[in-house]
Structures are given as C-alpha cells and as structure tokens.
C-alpha cells in the first residue's frame, strides 16, 4: 500500500553517505536499498516520514520533516498552531 505521490520530504545526500547500511536496516518500508555499491532510494512514495533513518545515520546524509501521519494530530496543529499532538496513544 502506498500513500500520496510526491509528498515525502525525504532528502538523501549521496556525497555524505559512508555506506554504513544503517538506513537500510531501520526503515520500516524498505525505502533505502544497497545496490551496485551504492545506497539508493527505491520508492520515496513509500516513505512515511517516521525519521528512523535520519536518527540513525551517523553521517548526517539524510533529511526529512519527521512527524506522525495522523489526521487528528495534524488538525490539532493546524487549528492551534502548536506541535501535532496525537491523542490516540495518549495516556
């Protein structure tokens, strides 16, 4: 299943990448792939902007506007101007 086309803010800087493969391990949607001695983005439409790759890239080669893809949280943020707050898993 894929979400909307061309919306992900994922950016990858090939020059900074040292091919440690961490991004290929942590991404829950297999967006990064190691192929022909090169890290590649396979399908950016699969990216859910969870930020796992950015957190774990030791060489600062990846950027993304990390967040939760939850309408309730984003409506809250659009209406109040505050950070998106997700009520569905609030304690």
């Amino acid at each position: 299943m894929k979400y909307l086309k061309n919306v992900s803010t994922l950016e990858f800087d090939r020059n900074k990448c040292k091919k440690c493969l961490m991004c290929t391990v942590v991404c829950p949607h297999g967006v990064f792939k190691y192929e022909n001695n090169e890290i590649k983005i396979t399908d950016r439409d699969r990216c859910m902007e969870c930020g796992a790759c950015v957190n774990n890239c030791p060489y600062d080669a990846i950027k993304v506007n990390k967040g939760v893809g939850c309408a309730e949280a984003i409506i809250y943020s659009l209406l109040t101007g505050k950070e998106p707050k997700c009520g569905c898993c609030e304690d």
Partner: protein, 364 residues
C-alpha cells in the same frame, strides 16, 4: 556494593517495589546489582483479560509495568539484553516470544505506551535509554556491550548517539516480537521480510471497530438533534415525522460512519485513490443511494448526497492515525484541501435543512 544485597532487607524490597509482586514475577535472582525479578514467559488468563481491556479502551490504558531490569530464564553476564517499553501488552508479547531463552529485559519508562507510539513521541528515545543504562548500572551486570531493540524503536532512538553516550551498541531486531526467534537463530540478523511494517487484513479488521468508538458520542448528540429537528412541526413534535424522516436519517448517518470507519480500513487496498478522504467518499456513496428509497423530498435527498459522503470521508481521514504508512506531509495535504470542502459542505447542508424546514412549516 549495593546495599540491597543484604539478605535481611530482601523481604522489605519485595514490599517496596510493586514489580516483585506482579503475577508474572516468579522469583528474584541475586546479581551484582542486587535482586532482580525473574519473570515467567507464560501468558495467563489475567494477562489475556488485560490485553482485551487494553484494546477496548481504545489505546488509552494504564497497563504499565515497572521500568527497570528483569531476568528471563537463567541469564548470566554473557546473556543478551532486550530493550522494550513499559506497556504491559508489549512486555507480555516479548516475554512470551522469548520462552526457553535466557536473557535480560530492560524496560524503559514510556508512560505505558507501545514502542512505536512512544518512539514517535520521543519517550522511547535516546535520552531515556541512556538514562536507564546508567541508572541500572547495566555494565556491571553484563560483560558485553550489546543491546537488542525492536526496529521500530529507531523512530525515537539514535543508535550511534547511544553508543557515544553509554558505550552500548544498539542492534535493531525485527519489527515484530514473533520474529525474534528466527532473528536469534539467524545470528542476530533480521530477514528482509521481518524488517517491514505491514498492515494485513486481519490487523485492519481488528483495529477498525475501535475507530467507531470515539465517533459514537458525537453521533448520539447528532441523533437527538435530528429527532427534534425533523419531528418539529407547528403543532409540536410529530411522532410520524420522527419515524419516517428522523429515524431513517439517523440510520443513514450511522451507515456513513460505518463506511468511513470500517469499510475503508477493511477494503483499504481495494478502494480506488490513494487519498483517504477520497476512499471515504467512495464508500460514502452507499448511504445516499439507500436514501433514494427512504425519502421522496428533493431537499432531503440532496442533503443526503452531500452530508453522508462527507461524514464517511472525514471518518476515513481520521483513520490515518491508525495506519502504518501515512506520512504527515500527505495527511497535511489532504487536510488543507479537505477541511475547507468539509466546512463548505456543512454550511450548505445546514442551509438545505433550513429551507426544507421552512417549506415543511409552510413559511415559504
């Protein structure tokens, strides 16, 4: 030396820490860090009952467990350390999957929230993990420097930061605890398949009804408004109008809610469009089609064709919070286009109803 090692205090320890009295704690184990609770890998009836309650209380739960270190089996200084959240269900699944395995479990304080949600919020994060490693003095318990984390923890954890700050190397295990056994067998490498988050049909069926629960309260108030509004005549509240217009309208609204909250999640990959708002519109066409058989008044039918798909569409959009693949940029895009349309739709609906009522009352 830790003073807790004093045997005369061990009884007191048990009463001080609730974690020693929980049903999953079998006994305690004397380690260089003092007594550590040894837990069972069996899930009993009480655990199952709690899991059920966790589910029906729609993610809000207080089924927390005490953070800190636990022992499973008979671990020693070379045993692996698994890190998890202090949500009881997550903890239970992990200990169940680790049966016949000797290991340590380090539980982080995530406020009783599962790993993925907590990692998204940052409570299952680098800071908390490093703090727990220091607080528990983990380096005195194990002779190696490895931690095994669920892969989804990576949303909140930075492996290289953890290593910088604590000396412990983070190994990301599979997404699901059920793949841990093959992960261990495969030399602590997860198979490609176990690294992906999926959203299979049975999981969607399981979560779909939960989507309805928060909507029911609003639905109840709207139903009362409908009954009064449609029943109202010059002569007072008419039972006949309530029965022939108010009641069908309530049932149609409920079916629109079901199309958005249940049909969309269940049929997800089979519905056209990638947008949740549009998927909701598609399933939301069922209710207005039924309305053709309920009403003969043109205004009422027009109202149904605008109001019911909008209800279904918005409910479907709210389901993005439960899915495993929607991005914030995508949801923001849907909302920026959708919200003005929903608001305009509601205004038009209210106008239609006012015109309808005035005509029924014979004013126009």
């Amino acid at each position: 030396m830790n003073t807790n090692n004093n045997s005369c205090c061990s009884a007191e320890d048990k009463s001080n820490f609730s974690k020693y009295s929980e049903s999953y704690v079998l006994t305690t184990k004397l380690t260089p860090l003092g007594f550590i609770p040894v837990i069972s890998s069996k899930i009993n009836f009480r655990d199952k009952l709690e899991h059920f309650k966790c589910r029906v209380s729609s993610f809000r739960n207080n089924y927390k467990i005490e953070p800190g270190l636990y022992a499973l089996g008979t671990p020693d200084e070379s045993s692996e350390v698994f890190v998890t959240a202090n949500y009881k269900y997550t903890f239970d699944v992990l200990r169940k999957e680790l049966n016949n395995f000797n290991c340590w479990i380090l539980v982080l304080e995530t406020g009783g929230i599962n790993v993925w949600c907590a990692a998204g919020k940052g409570t299952f994060g680098t800071e908390e993990l490093v703090e727990k490693i220091k607080e528990t003095q983990l380096e005195r318990l194990v002779s190696h420097k490895r931690l095994i984390l669920p892969q989804l923890g990576a949303v909140g954890i930075s492996a290289y930061e953890v290593e910088n700050q604590s000396g412990f190397k983070v190994i990301y295990g599979p997404v699901k605890a059920e793949d841990i056994k093959s992960f261990i067998k495969n030399n602590y490498e997860a198979f490609e398949n176990a690294r992906r988050v999926k959203f299979p049909i049975w999981e969607r069926i399981k979560v779909a009804p939960l989507e309805l629960v928060p909507a029911l309260k609003k639905f109840f108030y709207l139903s009362i408004v409908f009954l009064i509004f449609f029943g109202l005549r010059k002569e007072g509240i008419m039972f006949k109008d309530i029965y022939y217009i108010g009641l069908p309208m309530i049932l149609l609204t409920f079916s629109a809610l079901v199309s958005g909250a249940i049909l969309v999640p269940v049929l997800l990959p089979f519905l056209p469009f990638r947008s949740f708002a549009l998927k909701g519109c598609v399933t939301g066409l069922i209710a207005p089609l039924i309305s053709l058989f309920c009403f003969s008044n043109f205004l009422l039918i027009l109202f149904c064709w605008i109001f019911l798909p909008a209800v279904s569409s918005f409910t479907a959009l709210l389901f993005t919070g439960t899915t495993t693949y929607t991005s914030p940029s995508g949801v923001t895009k849907e909302l920026k286009i959708g919200l003005p349309i929903y608001i305009a739709g509601i205004v038009v609906c209210i106008l239609i109803l006012i015109i309808y009522k005035l005509s029924v009352l014979g004013v126009i």
